[in-house]
Subunit: 176 residues, 2 copies
DNA sequence: ACCTGAACACCGTTCAAGT
DNA sequence: ACCTGAACACCGTTCAAGT
């Protein structure tokens, strides 16, 4: 079986799950595949492009959110689904931020629009999409960076970001 | 004048403003100071620690927010002030995320608490701090990553994040 | 078309040795 | 106490050459 763009991304994701971004160099990736590092550049233009493709996979793993009995409940579920996808892979926040910056489609946009349409608030969709996405990526980045610092220095105190995420999400949905 | 921890951070910040994180290696930093790279390690334990110190400077540059005639107006000003500080330096979002993850004090927390106290909503302060900080860092990261991609590839379309930030902030403050 | 081999121009960090 | 010199163990990427 010949090497392909898809299989390179597969292996990259595999390596990412095992050891995060730090363990996912073009060289370790090549070694895992059993090829010279330079061979990768036949299938992928750059590491950045590779990471963008990985980001698209991570975003595609976001589970769809079904209708609920309030707009807030649906938006909360969307935020939680994005968080699950992003924190489901080491350094997911950083990678997804790169992907979105590179122009990857944000599944949150469609989900939020569907919800807003159901509750007659279509005009609020863009702002809510930006708020929700930015919040999940931002807190996810802090959390995963904290995790990386902690594995480098076990003296560091652990922090549970779960409750903080929940409280921040409630605040975002409640407004002021 | 002998080298010091403070002067190393000064020069690091200077280099950061000129060329971002990509241009701020321990080697370029040493060259700028006129010393061998290894000399830096007498004044700073690691690059990570150096970046954390830089993050503290960036956060300290956040201008204080004065009392206004509504809680929403004050919180909006706090979000805008954090954004100004973070996007005021290249790759500021990434650096500040590292700093916060490392335990840097978040000036937003005090500001939000003061506002909430003024409007009898002290219990809402933690959630609002998390939401506001996460949102500003998350969108800032996307924006600055987009900027970096664009300087690497001038074919890429420009995106104005200003209005998007405003809309997201309004959505966050308005709730649903 | 697809891959190897070898190189280019970098990294962060350590550590003996100098002053 | 503070810095140099030299090395260690890495990076991403390019490109001629092979098949």
């Amino acid at each position: 079986m010949a090497l392909s763009q898809t299989s390179v991304v597969d292996t990259a994701l595999e390596l990412l799950r095992e050891s995060g971004l730090a363990g996912m160099s073009m060289r370790t990736l090549a070694t895992r595949i059993g090829v010279q590092p330079s061979a990768l550049y036949w299938h992928v233009p750059s590491k950045q492009a590779l990471l963008t493709a990985v980001a698209e996979r991570v975003l595609a793993a976001m589970r769809p959110v079904e209708a609920d009995d309030s707009a807030a409940a649906e938006l909360r579920a969307i935020g939680e689904a994005l968080r699950a996808a992003v924190t489901g892979v080491p350094d997911g926040a950083e990678i997804v931020a790169l992907g979105l910056a590179a122009g990857a489609v944000n599944p949150v946009a469609d989900a939020v629009e569907a919800t807003c349409a159901r509750y007659d608030k279509v005009d609020r969709a863009p702002g809510l999409t930006t708020a929700l996405t930015g919040y999940v990526i931002g807190l996810g980045l802090e959390e995963q960076t904290h995790h990386n610092l902690r594995t480098a220095d076990p003296e560091m105190a652990a922090v549970d970001f779960g409750p903080r995420f929940g409280a921040g999400l409630e605040a975002l949905l409640a407004g002021v």
